[in-house]
């Protein structure tokens, strides 16, 4: 076992996959000489050269399109969005080409591409750099969407994403890059479509992902003091959702709280709540509760920013109320 920061775990995933498969290359702004804004590709260009760690000009839509053309013709690109928000400029290429082109081409082409980078609400970065993007992409057919949350799963998931033959949008969280964890020295891969049971429990299921997993974990000791032991599931895959794992848990606990950083309107939680209604209505003892971020652009001010996203105290209160039959 070796202790690693998340950015290093991601780096070693990329390094191992580039070493294993020479068709894998990384492109994006400052991924080469500079090593990536969050150092995920630090020094890799020294090992693999400038074509495999391709520093692009600032032209998100076109370098994403270029990666797609390369993927269609046999390479396996990893696009780094310096901040995933910038890839809104590449939405055309991501939706029309990465997502749909396998279908519109009637299976003529496959698009094995990973589009990854830092997303989520950072610390006083202001609205444009602190976006919740996953819901914008969840409706695009043909994409897989994965959110990592720990150095361990970040590494195993990224390696799988690189090997997957489909376009994978891979969300990292700006505030998790410096998370540390022991991770195995030997190679491991994690499935892209499986949720992770973080902690088994009873009476209530908490469905969460990315950084909110850690806010949920912070709420657990207080809940425990109150005699409440929720089952915690990290969704990992936001598309497709792992309904098997979600269903098994709901059948056991009969109550659900979704804790997400996504906006409430049209968010991932909205999709989950509707999906549970459709599939598991008879299992529910209470309505599905959504703890989502507020429907505002992320404010710069620290206090307002904190109010925008779900905090551990709020999780404690809501879970308690739900279990005690007050919701």
């Amino acid at each position: 076992m070796a202790e690693m920061f998340m950015f290093n775990a991601l780096r070693s995933a990329i390094d191992e996959e580039m070493e294993r498969d020479p068709r894998v290359f990384v492109l994006g702004e400052d991924v080469g000489h500079y090593g990536g804004s969050y150092k995920v590709t630090k020094d890799l260009y020294k090992k693999y050269g400038e074509l495999r760690l391709l520093d692009t000009p600032i032209c998100e839509n076109s370098f994403t399109g270029l990666a797609i053309g390369a993927a269609m013709t046999g390479l396996r690109p990893i696009v780094e969005g310096m901040n995933m928000g910038f890839l809104l400029l590449a939405f055309n290429q991501i939706a029309n080409n990465a997502g749909m082109l396998r279908y519109t081409s009637g299976g003529n082409f496959t698009i094995p591409i990973v589009i990854r980078g830092p997303g989520g609400v950072g610390r006083q970065l202001g609205a444009e750099h602190s976006q919740r993007l996953e819901a914008y992409f969840q409706a695009v057919p043909g994409l897989k969407i994965v959110a990592c949350s720990t150095p361990y799963n970040a590494k195993g998931l990224l390696k799988s994403a690189i090997r997957d033959n489909n376009p994978v949008l891979f969300f990292e969280h700006v505030l998790l890059y410096n998370l540390k964890q022991d991770i195995p020295e030997e190679e491991y891969l994690l499935p892209l479509d499986k949720a992770e049971l973080v902690q088994p429990g009873e009476e209530v299921t908490i469905l969460t992902y990315s950084r909110m997993r850690h806010h949920v974990l912070q709420a657990l000791p207080e809940l425990e003091r109150r005699g409440i032991y929720p089952e915690v599931i990290d969704l990992i895959s936001l598309r497709p959702l792992d309904w098997e794992t979600i269903g098994a848990s709901v059948r056991k606990t009969h109550r659900v709280v979704v804790v997400e950083e996504c906006m409430k309107t049209g968010g991932i939680g909205a999709e989950i709540a509707a999906g549970i209604m459709e599939r598991l209505f008879d299992e529910l003892d209470a309505p599905v509760v959504r703890l989502s971020s507020q429907d505002v652009p992320t404010p710069y001010n620290g206090t307002l920013e904190r109010l925008t996203i779900v905090q551990p105290e709020q999780i404690v209160q809501t879970v308690t109320d739900l279990v005690r039959g007050r919701i």
């Binding site: 020479p22 068709r23 290359f25 050269g49 074509l51 495999r52 692009t56 000009p57 032209c59 839509n61 076109s62 370098f63 994403t64 399109g65 270029l66 990666a67 797609i68 053309g69 390369a70 993927a71 269609m72 013709t73 046999g74 390479l75 055309n92 290429q93 029309n96 080409n97 082109l101 396998r102 279908y103 519109t104 081409s105 009637g106 299976g107 003529n108 082409f109 496959t110 698009i111 094995p112 057919p141 043909g142 897989k144 997957d164 033959n165 489909n166």
Partner: protein, 344 residues
């Protein structure tokens, strides 16, 4: 408004052309024209649906570049939504293209794509892009792949050139500038072919762009830019060959501006009310098919009978394509979800 900008002159006397080459170019243009005329007929008969953009008038560009300068099926071709004829020049069979337009499972995109999304991996035909300019970076990706195979994977055989087609309207879009910059920066083996047919739906080129000379825009990227009479297949072939040779030698991309014209409206749904009669007549008088035909006869490379035989042969091919499309099955409803993911 007729033609204000003089067409670049080209002397066919400088061209070396064999009978076989001449007939190949002629047949490809006739196929493009006949196929499109048949599409119009089929559209009005309710056999094909949606937006259908025909290529009539522009044949010299597709034929001159793809048949005249590329190795179809080896080099890559990337198109726009006006893509039927590019696909045909690239070698996608008329049967497969027609069947796609009929929405049949035997179509080149299995009935999932339609007019604006033609694809063929076998023919290295990269599509079919319904959004203006979105194919430009994708084409650059294919060219990057060739460079990567040669320089990273050590494949010394990797020498494909990618031809990327788009219209004058697309040249006002950021993806044009973004991609030209990257292609020149990395000396990608690509040729950018602007089919300047003077119109973007109903928007006259002069009303949409600050400098209507698109080829000059290459200079700011340190790239070779040339203009060519896009109604003259031999002229197009000549500049395309030079551009392809440069690309293969690793000397980087070229921007070719082919001055051309579409003889029909923007799409089959377009009443075509804006373009003046004089303008249309001016361009109709430069019909690239008639022009090559006369040249071949004058040069005694072919007789009128030879040309007639080609028209007859192509007519048969297109009739056969329609019969094939008509008789082909629809995609099975059970397969609605097929091809969403790589595993399907």
């Amino acid at each position: 408004m007729v033609q204000e900008r003089p067409l670049p002159t080209f002397s066919p006397a400088t061209v070396h052309l064999t009978r076989e080459e001449g007939l190949l170019l002629y047949e490809d243009m006739v196929l493009g024209r006949t196929f499109e005329d048949k599409c119009a007929e089929m559209y009005y008969r309710g056999k094909m649906f949606g937006f259908v953009h025909l290529y009539n008038g522009q044949e010299a560009v597709s034929t001159g570049v793809i048949k005249g300068a590329l190795r179809p099926g080896i080099d890559y071709v990337c198109s726009t939504y006006r893509d039927h004829v590019h696909a045909l020049s690239a070698g996608v069979s008329p049967r497969e293209v027609m069947a796609e337009l009929f929405g049949k499972v035997t179509g080149c995109s299995k009935g999932r794509g339609g007019s604006m999304h033609l694809f063929s991996a076998r023919q290295r035909f990269l599509g079919g892009y319904a959004f203006v300019a979105e194919g430009i970076p994708v084409a650059a990706g294919a060219a990057f792949q060739t460079k990567y195979r040669r320089e990273v994977l050590g494949d010394t055989q990797a020498d494909e050139v990618t031809a990327c087609f788009f219209g004058d309207g697309a040249c006002n879009n950021g993806q044009f500038f973004e991609t030209l910059n990257m292609a020149a920066l990395w000396r990608l083996p690509i040729i950018f072919v602007v089919e300047n047919n003077q119109w973007a739906i109903g928007m006259a080129h002069q009303r949409a762009t600050s400098d209507p000379h698109i080829y000059k825009k290459a200079s700011v990227f340190n790239m070779v830019g040339v203009e060519v009479d896009g109604m003259d297949v031999l002229a197009v072939r000549e500049v395309a060959r030079e551009a392809v040779a440069r690309a293969r030698l690793g000397e980087g991309p070229t921007l070719i501006e082919a001055l051309t014209y579409r003889f029909r409206g923007h799409s089959l749904a377009d009443p075509d009310e804006l373009r003046s009669k004089e303008e249309k007549e001016f361009w109709l008088s430069r019909d690239p098919i008639k022009r090559l035909g006369s040249f071949l006869v004058e040069q005694e490379l072919a007789t009128n009978q030879d040309l007639q035989a080609i028209h007859q042969k192509v007519k048969q091919i297109v009739e056969d394509a329609v019969a094939f499309a008509e008789q082909s099955p629809e995609p099975s409803p059970d397969e609605l979800w097929r091809y969403v993911y790589a595993e399907d």
